[in-house]
Amino acid sequence: MVSQMQSDKLESPRQGFDTPRFDPDVLPPLSPALETVIRAETVTIRYGDFAAVRDVSLKIPDHHVTAIIGPSGCGKSTFLRAINRMNDFIPQMSISGSLLYRGENIYRTRCDPVDLRRRIGMVFQKPNPFPKTIFKNVAWGAAINGYRGNIDDLVEKSLRQAAIWDEVKDKLHQSAFALSGGQQQRLCIARAIALQPDVLLMDEPCSALDPIATALIEDLIDQLKKNFTVVLVTHNMQQAARVSNFTAFMYMGELIEFDKTDTIFTKPNKQRTQDYITGRFG
């Protein structure tokens, strides 16, 4: 697993710092008072010759839920995985432009992906608990990161935050595989927030779940934005409309429109967005 990272703009020393200027092209309605957590500037991500993401610029605000929607293959997952450098494991991946996390360039050589992922957690499409007990699943990340506090308290707090404590408190030492899919996914969320990350990336977290489990996770996402910045990739437009504050619409690797969720779903600026949300394609 080798990643070849080439970064056109990354070497310049000024690049690593976010300028607080308001860029009307990138995010028209977002009040400058909102703090930007992730900022992408003309980010292009290639797999070999194929550009999966092209020239994407956007700002993701603090303590809100930002949804990225778009048809399959539009590059939304690729973009999401670039934020915590999970794409590093894909050979032939290259990225240009700049991607900043709180002003720090994520792809600068000084940035350690292991540290970055400590701040930017991730929940995957399919629940992927470790083949360990429920307790160990949550405690694992804290343990390898040298957590010194009371591990029992941390596990309980994380499971409570992920709204699964009541269901698992009596079987903490049973295998995580004994849980249902929806429970496993909430366990994975608990596992991610046990590290107390700043940002939580969610890559279609409900696509493998039934409607009831999905509703539970959506409620949970709404709770999570109190403590975390959530970036949610979903191909379910209703889900984006229900849980997110801001929505980015991507199509064919490009960012078509990024706005308040209400605006995107009621009076989008671009015809293509209109077509997509009304189900004319995708």
């Binding site: 991730m122 083949p131 390898i144």
Partner: protein, 301 residues
């Protein structure tokens, strides 16, 4: 509608192919069955003269000398000494190579290293025995431990260890690569380093595959013959000292087969008794490995 001549011919050809393939499969089954039959009938004849208890628990093995004694424990002891020593060497190296190949090596390095390991598995075992006898014992063991016999268990253990490294490395690599990518991603997303992912997620998840690899390698080490015969000598004794000459079950069979022991004598029958025991031990380990592997396959269902 009548089938055409061509269709009929095709059907006959299909039948012929079926018969040929069935014959191929049958040959190996019949061979195995006859080996078991010969082993057990000769071993049965042997146990008419020697009680199985005296055979299994006797501590002196001297079937060719007077007074005769048929305690197989010294041979088992020699075998375990060599196979156990081989595992001590092969498990760390094989496991390390397996982790390297599956978790660390870039595809290009992997595509070079894996064939090299397989070449290592293809070297004739007699070459390993010779290597032990003319290099490992005089150049490494004797300078380090003066008084080492020229034939000794340690040199045999070392070469058998090298010999089974590819088995362990390759099977461990397979076991680790069978661990779903989503588990690794989950661990990386929790800020794990590559080493933490390898040792704390991939290794435990692939553990039953690793155990099966070790069991299979152990079975192979027990059955290894040529290298051990050359390197370890032919002195059956009950010892745990690896620096003296010993004899394994396999090398005893070689010794008698090469000698002028007449057919039908009890001395001759001993090799079938020993062979039967060897067969049972190896079979047991193979079945054990299969069981462990089966459990491993169910892990992520």
């Amino acid at each position: 509608m009548q089938p055409t001549i061509g269709k009929k011919l095709t059907r006959a050809k299909e039948q012929a192919i079926l018969v040929c393939l069935f014959a191929c499969a049958l040959i190996s089954v019949v061979t195995t069955a006859s080996i078991i039959w010969i082993l057990s009938s000769e071993a049965f004849a042997f146990f008419q003269h020697v009680s199985p208890l005296a055979f299994l628990f006797g501590t002196r093995w001297a079937p060719l000398l007077e007074p005769k004694s048929f305690g197989v424990l010294p041979l088992i002891c020699g075998t375990v000494l060599v196979a156990g020593g081989a595992l001590l060497i092969a498990v760390p190296i094989g496991l390390g190579s397996g982790i390297f190949l599956s978790e660390y090596a870039p595809p290009r390095v992997r595509s070079i290293v894996k064939p090299i390991l397989e070449v290592l598995a293809g070297i004739p075992t007699v070459v390993y025995g010779y290597f032990a006898l003319v290099f490992i014992t005089p150049r490494i063991l004797q300078p380090l431990f003066p008084g080492t016999d020229i034939f000794n268990a340690a040199s045999a253990a070392i070469v058998v260890g090298i010999m089974i490294v590819p088995t362990i490395a390759s099977l461990c690599d397979d076991a680790f690569r069978a661990v779903p990518r989503s588990l690794r991603e989950g661990a990386y997303a929790l800020s794990a380093t590559r080493f933490e992912v390898s040792t704390r997620v991939v290794l435990p998840a692939g553990m039953s595959g690793v155990v099966a690899a070790i069991i299979l390698a152990f079975a192979r080490a027990i059955g290894e013959t040529m290298a051990v015969t050359l390197a370890a000598g032919a002195m059956a004794r009950l010892t745990i000292n690896p620096l003296v000459s010993i004899q394994t079950m396999t090398s005893y069979i070689v010794q008698v087969s090469l000698g002028d022991t007449p057919h039908g004598t009890i001395e001759y029958q001993t090799i079938f008794a020993v062979g039967m025991l060897l067969f049972l031990i190896t079979l047991m380990f193979n079945v054990l490995a299969q069981q462990v592997l089966k459990r491993f396959r169910e892990a992520y269902e």
